[in-house]
Symmetry: C2
Subunit: 452 residues, 2 copies
Amino acid sequence: MNRQILLNEKEIPKQWYNIQADMPNPVPPPLNPGTGKPITPDMLEAIFPMNIIEQEVSTERWITIPDAVLEKYLIWRPTPLYRASFLEKFLGTPAHIYFKNEGVSPPGSHKPNTAIAQAYFNKVFGVKRLATETGAGQWGSALAFACNQFGLECKVYMVRISYNQKPYRRTLMETWGAKCVPSPSPDTNAGRKFYEQNKEHFGSLGIAISEAVEDGATSKDSKYSIGSVANHVLLHQTILGLEAHKQLAMIGEYPDIVIGCAGGGSNFSGLALPFVRDKIHGKTLQVIACEPASCPTMTKGPYVYDFGDTAETTPLFAMHSLGHNFIPAPIHAGGLRYHGMAPIVSRLLMDNLIEARAYGQLETFAAGVIFARTEGFIPAPETNHAIACVIEEAKKAKEEGKEKVILMNWSGHGIIDLAAYDAYLSGKLEDSVLSDDEIQKSLKALEKYPKP
Amino acid sequence: MNRQILLNEKEIPKQWYNIQADMPNPVPPPLNPGTGKPITPDMLEAIFPMNIIEQEVSTERWITIPDAVLEKYLIWRPTPLYRASFLEKFLGTPAHIYFKNEGVSPPGSHKPNTAIAQAYFNKVFGVKRLATETGAGQWGSALAFACNQFGLECKVYMVRISYNQKPYRRTLMETWGAKCVPSPSPDTNAGRKFYEQNKEHFGSLGIAISEAVEDGATSKDSKYSIGSVANHVLLHQTILGLEAHKQLAMIGEYPDIVIGCAGGGSNFSGLALPFVRDKIHGKTLQVIACEPASCPTMTKGPYVYDFGDTAETTPLFAMHSLGHNFIPAPIHAGGLRYHGMAPIVSRLLMDNLIEARAYGQLETFAAGVIFARTEGFIPAPETNHAIACVIEEAKKAKEEGKEKVILMNWSGHGIIDLAAYDAYLSGKLEDSVLSDDEIQKSLKALEKYPKP
């Protein structure tokens, strides 16, 4: 039995996979909230360079990865695929469990797969500086790393409560030369009004997005960069799923079940989309997106047109959503606290090509500790949602006596999230369950907009 | 050009290399401080199992790695060897720079190479529980991980000032199921007398060692485990140098210069010893151990017989030392703050088979930031000492116009040490230089003991 399935650097995929070429139903176009009409690509030009906008709307199946991007991917890619033999043994399951270790990147997660690509495309477009927002800091640190690699300036608006609570993430960004400020900040119109009311305002991802978009759209030689949800982000992430596809083929395996956690949808899609392609073409397999019970976008949110941000500055996207005013409970899986879901993932869910499950916080940390105590590596709190599902499926395989092949995206390590493990181990963590009433209340604001 | 040189799991070395078989002058025996006579192996039996004591004194050249240890090594080994092409380009050097990435292990450093081996040998000897000390926490977390893998209990005495300042390391140990207490603790005779004087006593590595040795020697079914300095620890670490040796051979390279940082000497030896063997047999190469200017054990400490701990509970070892009462300045490279040096490393230095250099804290962090901003990965503060030397040698190669091959041990990542980077980036770090007077004063206590 192989424990590690490695690709050498020559075997790295040379193209990203664009599922928009294969979807049975296309993603509905984003709408202008004022007119209710589809926006045109040029309306995105203020915030994204045209080469990225082209990827956003492309229906080409394969998009070539530029050599300069591949060169940077080799800093940490191809990533290892591991057979989780110690976890299997612990569970006594006949299932073969594989995990794709995206935690080996310098920032510790899958995020740089798109950060490197976005920094490159902006660079060749003549952009000198990128602005973005970050919640817990995973995305901000990935973009800081990528901008540093391509010699771009980088400014990160970090939700103030995280900025204060997670100084390590800020230092990580600064070590890579980025500027990180707490949001709301006095540096933008969007931030200033909150900042002037209260200089210690905790902030929210919604406000931080508004600040970063304004900065990217209005500052000299600058653009905005986004870490999940958008089609081009999901496209770039497919590098990891294409690698895993190749790695499993090398040992003659194919997954019965593909599992990833989902916040905005990018790490899940990165692993899943190349396998969803097979499913569209007739393969039988399950593809499961795992979300927090406290932010059950796919399992409880309807498929609607909604804003990407709280401040209503973005177009309307066709997606599963809990409403853009919904503020999820402060769970430790900060990367999964998003009111919406990537339009591509949402459409695939509507078409039953994928399924969704929700897990409570305590259950996910219990799963993470089992993983750490069998496979050794400490998973990110987000990743623990995928692990909870893997354990559930591996137990089911045991009951059924089936030798199922389960593939999971191990989206990142939890080394900077150890405070969350401390809270769990000392019994201070709680589950937070969302009532249907709360969801209905939050969705009210969407009634006036078109339905997809 | 290859950026990554990978071994597949079948290519992992199956034996450790024991340099005691090849040293031109053997390591002088440890002495009983009371009698001045060599201690016999059985005098170590209270704290170590006999299978480990046999390795400590063995002169067999190759020692077989048990299958059960190899199985656990595959959790993260073989580790990648990287060509630091981005660093080379930044420096404009003709040198080929390679770094062995030991930061990919679950605890993030080279330490589990010996922790896994020690946990295994204790387990098969019937030991149920290991006690150890830890300063900054790298070693404690590695042993916690290893004990968890073999189902042993683990108790770590962590220097209280670090216990308070570095809660992430403690949580890491607890996530792997270990018990970690601040030292001095009320749990041992050695700790109790300090603890009862002052319940918030900052502690020191010396006191923590005394607590762990007492616990290991006196508790039921327990032994003591050590993370560096000892011959068997260096032996286990050679797995990494043997891998690197093989990896370079795969691409037809051989190092002109081998570089590692050195505190107790284990990560340096792990990389260097298989190459020192070649040097003993006639190869021409430089082997450089890098230490902090504030704890210049090899560059300023004489070769003497000294205690391994502050409390004078260990035998006397023949080593370079600044005196066992010496308390190094509180630099962030906690793993290099040790008054002595491994007896094997010390003897090799006396025989001019290796050389030593000292670097100031600011210089090492400047080097670490250059590394992070070229190669992406954030190095541990300890590792930054090796990087400072690599940069120095790469610049020299540029001046000389020589295509030298430089091999470095990248002993661990700095993700849990980001507070140190923050201090550096915000201008709060200082160099501390040690005066010769201070060293002479500290060495006074050794005058009454034999000379090696």
